[in-house]
Symmetry: C2
DNA sequence: GTAACTGCAAAATATTTGCATCCTT
DNA sequence: AAGGATGCAAATATTTTGCAGTTAC
Protein backbone atom coordinates (compact mmCIF):
# COMPACT_ATOMS: atom_id res chain seq x y z
CA UNK A 1 0.00 0.00 0.00
CA UNK A 2 2.64 2.45 1.02
CA UNK A 3 4.69 1.22 -1.90
CA UNK A 4 1.82 1.55 -4.28
CA UNK A 5 1.30 5.10 -3.15
CA UNK A 6 4.98 5.84 -3.52
CA UNK A 7 4.77 4.71 -7.10
CA UNK A 8 1.63 6.70 -7.67
CA UNK A 9 3.10 9.92 -6.40
CA UNK A 10 6.25 9.50 -8.48
CA UNK A 11 4.16 8.94 -11.57
CA UNK A 12 2.02 11.94 -10.83
CA UNK A 13 5.01 14.19 -10.35
CA UNK A 14 6.61 13.03 -13.57
CA UNK A 15 3.37 13.33 -15.46
CA UNK A 16 3.16 16.97 -14.45
CA UNK A 17 6.70 17.80 -15.39
CA UNK A 18 7.96 18.07 -11.83
CA UNK A 19 11.26 16.59 -10.78
CA UNK A 20 10.95 13.96 -8.10
CA UNK A 21 12.34 14.85 -4.71
CA UNK A 22 11.71 13.64 -1.20
CA UNK A 23 9.80 16.69 -0.18
CA UNK A 24 7.51 16.65 -3.16
CA UNK A 25 6.74 12.99 -2.71
CA UNK A 26 5.95 13.46 0.96
CA UNK A 27 3.72 16.44 0.38
CA UNK A 28 1.95 14.82 -2.52
CA UNK A 29 1.42 11.71 -0.43
CA UNK A 30 -0.38 13.79 2.14
CA UNK A 31 -2.82 14.85 -0.52
CA UNK A 32 -3.18 11.32 -1.81
CA UNK A 33 -3.76 9.73 1.57
CA UNK A 34 -6.01 12.29 3.09
CA UNK A 35 -9.11 12.70 1.01
CA UNK A 36 -9.49 16.40 1.49
CA UNK A 37 -7.95 19.78 1.12
CA UNK A 38 -4.89 20.95 2.98
CA UNK A 39 -3.72 24.40 3.95
CA UNK A 40 -0.11 25.32 4.23
CA UNK A 41 -0.39 25.14 8.00
CA UNK A 42 -1.83 21.62 7.87
CA UNK A 43 1.09 20.39 5.86
CA UNK A 44 3.55 22.01 8.16
CA UNK A 45 1.88 20.38 11.10
CA UNK A 46 1.83 16.94 9.51
CA UNK A 47 5.40 16.96 8.38
CA UNK A 48 6.84 18.55 11.48
CA UNK A 49 10.26 20.02 10.90
CA UNK A 50 11.08 17.62 8.14
CA UNK A 51 11.10 20.38 5.59
CA UNK A 52 11.56 24.07 5.78
CA UNK A 53 8.45 26.22 5.76
CA UNK A 54 9.77 27.95 2.69
CA UNK A 55 10.08 24.68 0.86
CA UNK A 56 6.44 23.97 1.53
CA UNK A 57 5.43 27.33 0.11
CA UNK A 58 7.46 26.75 -3.00
CA UNK A 59 6.30 23.20 -3.41
CA UNK A 60 2.67 24.19 -3.23
CA UNK A 61 3.28 26.94 -5.74
CA UNK A 62 4.94 24.53 -8.16
CA UNK A 63 2.10 22.09 -7.76
CA UNK A 64 -0.43 24.77 -8.58
CA UNK A 65 1.61 26.01 -11.54
CA UNK A 66 1.84 22.54 -13.01
CA UNK A 67 -1.80 21.74 -12.47
CA UNK A 68 -1.32 19.07 -9.83
CA UNK A 69 -3.40 20.83 -7.18
CA UNK A 70 -5.80 23.73 -7.17
CA UNK A 71 -6.60 26.27 -4.51
CA UNK A 72 -9.97 26.63 -2.89
CA UNK A 73 -11.25 30.05 -1.91
CA UNK A 74 -11.88 30.55 1.78
CA UNK A 75 -13.24 33.19 4.07
CA UNK A 76 -10.52 32.92 6.63
CA UNK A 77 -7.32 33.85 4.88
CA UNK A 78 -5.95 30.36 4.81
CA UNK A 79 -5.98 29.06 1.29
CA UNK A 80 -6.59 25.36 1.03
CA UNK A 81 -5.36 23.15 -1.76
CA UNK A 82 -6.72 19.95 -3.18
CA UNK A 83 -5.63 17.48 -5.82
CA UNK A 84 -6.75 18.21 -9.31
CA UNK A 85 -8.49 15.65 -11.42
CA UNK A 86 -7.16 14.76 -14.81
CA UNK A 87 -8.92 17.61 -16.55
CA UNK A 88 -6.63 20.10 -14.93
CA UNK A 89 -3.87 20.95 -17.33
CA UNK A 90 -0.81 22.95 -16.47
CA UNK A 91 -1.80 26.48 -15.54
CA UNK A 92 -5.32 25.79 -16.61
CA UNK A 93 -7.61 24.73 -13.87
CA UNK A 94 -11.08 23.46 -14.53
CA UNK A 95 -12.78 23.17 -11.22
CA UNK A 96 -16.08 21.87 -12.31
CA UNK A 97 -16.82 20.38 -8.96
CA UNK A 98 -17.97 22.03 -5.79
CA UNK A 99 -16.20 22.24 -2.46
CA UNK A 100 -17.59 21.39 0.90
CA UNK A 101 -16.36 22.73 4.21
CA UNK A 102 -17.50 20.99 7.36
CA UNK A 103 -18.25 23.30 10.26
CA UNK A 104 -17.58 20.57 12.78
CA UNK A 105 -14.32 18.97 11.73
CA UNK A 106 -13.28 21.88 9.54
CA UNK A 107 -12.25 19.55 6.75
CA UNK A 108 -12.62 20.64 3.18
CA UNK A 109 -13.66 18.15 0.54
CA UNK A 110 -13.90 18.20 -3.21
CA UNK A 111 -17.25 16.78 -4.18
CA UNK A 112 -16.21 15.54 -7.57
CA UNK A 113 -19.55 13.93 -8.19
CA UNK A 114 -21.40 17.22 -7.84
CA UNK A 115 -21.03 19.51 -10.81
CA UNK A 116 -21.10 23.25 -10.48
CA UNK A 117 -24.53 24.46 -11.54
CA UNK A 118 -24.56 26.94 -14.37
CA UNK A 119 -25.38 30.56 -13.65
CA UNK A 120 -26.88 33.19 -15.83
CA UNK A 121 -25.30 36.56 -15.33
CA UNK A 122 -26.69 39.95 -16.31
CA UNK A 123 -25.83 41.19 -19.78
CA UNK A 124 -22.28 42.38 -20.12
CA UNK A 125 -20.56 39.91 -17.86
CA UNK A 126 -18.23 37.30 -19.26
CA UNK A 127 -17.97 34.17 -17.16
CA UNK A 128 -14.62 32.57 -16.87
CA UNK A 129 -14.66 30.41 -13.84
CA UNK A 130 -17.21 29.45 -11.26
CA UNK A 131 -16.33 28.55 -7.71
CA UNK A 132 -18.81 27.08 -5.32
CA UNK A 133 -18.14 26.45 -1.68
CA UNK A 134 -20.81 24.87 0.45
CA UNK A 135 -20.51 24.78 4.20
CA UNK A 136 -22.39 22.56 6.55
CA UNK A 137 -21.90 19.24 8.28
CA UNK A 138 -20.20 16.36 6.50
CA UNK A 139 -21.09 12.69 6.49
CA UNK A 140 -18.66 11.71 9.21
CA UNK A 141 -19.74 14.46 11.55
CA UNK A 142 -23.51 13.99 11.42
CA UNK B 1 -25.44 64.06 -1.48
CA UNK B 2 -22.58 63.85 0.93
CA UNK B 3 -24.98 64.84 3.67
CA UNK B 4 -27.50 62.27 2.64
CA UNK B 5 -24.87 59.62 2.80
CA UNK B 6 -23.74 60.83 6.18
CA UNK B 7 -27.23 60.40 7.45
CA UNK B 8 -27.53 57.01 5.83
CA UNK B 9 -24.39 55.68 7.41
CA UNK B 10 -25.36 56.94 10.84
CA UNK B 11 -28.71 55.24 10.52
CA UNK B 12 -27.11 52.03 9.40
CA UNK B 13 -24.70 51.99 12.27
CA UNK B 14 -27.41 52.63 14.80
CA UNK B 15 -29.68 50.06 13.26
CA UNK B 16 -26.98 47.47 13.73
CA UNK B 17 -26.25 48.34 17.31
CA UNK B 18 -22.93 50.00 16.62
CA UNK B 19 -21.94 53.22 18.27
CA UNK B 20 -21.34 56.05 15.84
CA UNK B 21 -17.75 57.21 15.52
CA UNK B 22 -15.80 59.03 12.87
CA UNK B 23 -13.90 55.98 11.80
CA UNK B 24 -16.93 53.82 11.45
CA UNK B 25 -18.78 56.44 9.45
CA UNK B 26 -15.84 56.91 7.09
CA UNK B 27 -15.33 53.22 6.55
CA UNK B 28 -19.00 52.56 6.08
CA UNK B 29 -19.17 55.45 3.62
CA UNK B 30 -16.52 53.76 1.53
CA UNK B 31 -18.74 50.74 1.23
CA UNK B 32 -21.78 52.87 0.48
CA UNK B 33 -20.11 54.95 -2.19
CA UNK B 34 -18.16 52.30 -3.96
CA UNK B 35 -20.46 49.69 -5.32
CA UNK B 36 -18.22 46.73 -4.67
CA UNK B 37 -16.25 44.78 -2.16
CA UNK B 38 -13.28 46.10 -0.26
CA UNK B 39 -10.35 44.35 1.30
CA UNK B 40 -8.60 45.61 4.35
CA UNK B 41 -5.77 46.90 2.19
CA UNK B 42 -8.18 48.84 -0.03
CA UNK B 43 -9.60 50.64 2.94
CA UNK B 44 -6.20 51.47 4.28
CA UNK B 45 -5.21 52.87 0.92
CA UNK B 46 -8.35 54.97 0.58
CA UNK B 47 -8.22 56.45 4.03
CA UNK B 48 -4.49 57.05 4.14
CA UNK B 49 -3.18 57.44 7.65
CA UNK B 50 -6.44 58.82 8.95
CA UNK B 51 -6.97 55.78 11.10
CA UNK B 52 -4.70 53.21 12.55
CA UNK B 53 -4.44 49.90 10.77
CA UNK B 54 -5.58 48.19 13.93
CA UNK B 55 -8.71 50.27 14.05
CA UNK B 56 -9.59 49.14 10.55
CA UNK B 57 -9.18 45.52 11.55
CA UNK B 58 -11.39 45.98 14.55
CA UNK B 59 -13.96 48.01 12.69
CA UNK B 60 -14.33 45.40 9.99
CA UNK B 61 -14.66 42.71 12.61
CA UNK B 62 -17.41 44.64 14.40
CA UNK B 63 -19.21 45.20 11.14
CA UNK B 64 -19.15 41.51 10.38
CA UNK B 65 -20.24 40.59 13.89
CA UNK B 66 -23.20 42.92 13.72
CA UNK B 67 -24.26 41.84 10.26
CA UNK B 68 -23.46 45.05 8.47
CA UNK B 69 -20.99 43.51 6.04
CA UNK B 70 -20.11 39.99 5.01
CA UNK B 71 -16.87 38.48 3.85
CA UNK B 72 -16.34 37.00 0.44
CA UNK B 73 -14.10 33.97 0.05
CA UNK B 74 -11.05 34.49 -2.11
CA UNK B 75 -8.20 32.46 -3.45
CA UNK B 76 -5.55 35.01 -2.69
CA UNK B 77 -5.48 35.47 1.05
CA UNK B 78 -7.09 38.86 1.00
CA UNK B 79 -10.60 38.63 2.30
CA UNK B 80 -12.96 41.11 0.76
CA UNK B 81 -16.00 42.53 2.46
CA UNK B 82 -19.24 43.82 1.06
CA UNK B 83 -22.35 45.41 2.47
CA UNK B 84 -25.05 43.06 3.56
CA UNK B 85 -28.59 43.44 2.41
CA UNK B 86 -31.39 43.68 4.90
CA UNK B 87 -31.75 39.94 5.28
CA UNK B 88 -28.45 39.76 7.11
CA UNK B 89 -29.11 39.74 10.81
CA UNK B 90 -26.49 40.05 13.48
CA UNK B 91 -24.16 37.09 13.32
CA UNK B 92 -26.38 35.41 10.83
CA UNK B 93 -25.42 35.98 7.24
CA UNK B 94 -27.63 34.95 4.40
CA UNK B 95 -25.66 35.44 1.27
CA UNK B 96 -28.17 34.37 -1.26
CA UNK B 97 -26.51 36.27 -4.02
CA UNK B 98 -23.41 35.45 -5.99
CA UNK B 99 -20.16 37.31 -6.18
CA UNK B 100 -18.31 38.36 -9.25
CA UNK B 101 -14.60 39.08 -9.48
CA UNK B 102 -13.35 40.88 -12.55
CA UNK B 103 -10.01 39.65 -13.84
CA UNK B 104 -9.26 42.98 -15.47
CA UNK B 105 -10.04 45.61 -12.86
CA UNK B 106 -9.94 43.15 -9.98
CA UNK B 107 -13.12 44.58 -8.50
CA UNK B 108 -15.49 42.34 -6.65
CA UNK B 109 -19.21 42.85 -6.99
CA UNK B 110 -22.23 41.44 -5.27
CA UNK B 111 -24.72 40.47 -7.93
CA UNK B 112 -27.80 40.82 -5.82
CA UNK B 113 -30.08 40.12 -8.72
CA UNK B 114 -28.59 36.69 -9.30
CA UNK B 115 -29.65 34.10 -6.77
CA UNK B 116 -27.40 31.26 -5.78
CA UNK B 117 -28.57 28.14 -7.59
CA UNK B 118 -29.51 25.27 -5.37
CA UNK B 119 -27.26 22.25 -5.17
CA UNK B 120 -28.01 18.69 -4.39
CA UNK B 121 -25.39 17.08 -2.24
CA UNK B 122 -24.77 13.37 -1.73
CA UNK B 123 -26.63 11.70 1.10
CA UNK B 124 -25.27 12.56 4.53
CA UNK B 125 -24.31 16.14 3.94
CA UNK B 126 -26.15 18.96 5.61
CA UNK B 127 -26.08 22.22 3.72
CA UNK B 128 -25.76 25.34 5.74
CA UNK B 129 -24.48 28.02 3.45
CA UNK B 130 -23.64 28.26 -0.20
CA UNK B 131 -21.01 30.59 -1.57
CA UNK B 132 -20.59 31.21 -5.24
CA UNK B 133 -17.82 33.27 -6.73
CA UNK B 134 -17.73 33.80 -10.46
CA UNK B 135 -14.69 35.28 -12.12
CA UNK B 136 -14.54 36.80 -15.56
CA UNK B 137 -14.77 40.23 -17.11
CA UNK B 138 -17.24 42.77 -15.81
CA UNK B 139 -19.47 45.17 -17.71
CA UNK B 140 -17.14 48.14 -17.46
CA UNK B 141 -14.11 46.18 -18.60
CA UNK B 142 -15.55 44.53 -21.67
C1' DG C 1 27.39 19.11 -15.79
C1' DT C 2 23.46 21.95 -15.47
C1' DA C 3 19.30 23.33 -14.01
C1' DA C 4 16.41 22.98 -10.48
C1' DC C 5 15.34 22.17 -5.52
C1' DT C 6 16.40 23.05 -0.69
C1' DG C 7 17.66 25.23 3.75
C1' DC C 8 18.96 29.09 6.21
C1' DA C 9 18.88 33.91 7.15
C1' DA C 10 16.59 37.91 6.69
C1' DA C 11 13.37 41.10 4.93
C1' DA C 12 8.76 42.39 4.12
C1' DT C 13 3.97 41.98 5.20
C1' DA C 14 -0.02 40.89 7.79
C1' DT C 15 -2.54 40.13 12.06
C1' DT C 16 -3.28 40.10 17.07
C1' DT C 17 -2.91 41.72 21.81
C1' DG C 18 -2.38 44.86 25.85
C1' DC C 19 -2.87 49.03 27.72
C1' DA C 20 -3.61 53.90 28.41
C1' DT C 21 -6.52 57.53 26.65
C1' DC C 22 -10.43 59.48 24.54
C1' DC C 23 -15.15 59.49 22.89
C1' DT C 24 -20.07 57.94 22.62
C1' DT C 25 -24.11 57.11 24.92
C1' DA D 1 -20.07 57.99 34.79
C1' DA D 2 -19.35 53.60 32.26
C1' DG D 3 -18.49 51.02 28.52
C1' DG D 4 -16.74 50.93 24.32
C1' DA D 5 -13.56 52.76 20.55
C1' DT D 6 -9.04 54.31 19.29
C1' DG D 7 -3.94 54.84 18.91
C1' DC D 8 0.41 53.30 19.92
C1' DA D 9 3.78 49.83 20.96
C1' DA D 10 4.95 45.38 20.64
C1' DA D 11 4.31 40.54 20.10
C1' DT D 12 3.05 36.94 16.63
C1' DA D 13 2.27 35.03 12.43
C1' DT D 14 2.63 34.77 7.51
C1' DT D 15 4.80 35.20 3.10
C1' DT D 16 8.63 36.54 0.09
C1' DT D 17 13.41 36.99 -1.36
C1' DG D 18 18.47 36.09 -1.87
C1' DC D 19 22.04 33.19 -1.78
C1' DA D 20 24.93 29.20 -1.14
C1' DG D 21 24.96 24.25 -1.00
C1' DT D 22 22.88 20.01 -2.65
C1' DT D 23 20.32 16.95 -5.62
C1' DA D 24 17.72 15.18 -9.74
C1' DC D 25 18.11 14.21 -14.43
Amino acid sequence: MATARQKESVELLKAHGLSVTGGRKDILNLFLSRKGALAHADIEKKLGTLYDRVTIYRTLQSFVDKGLIHSIPTKDNSIRYALCKDECASGHHHDHHIHFVCKRCNHTYCLDEVATPSVKLPKGYTVNQVEMVVSGVCQSCQ
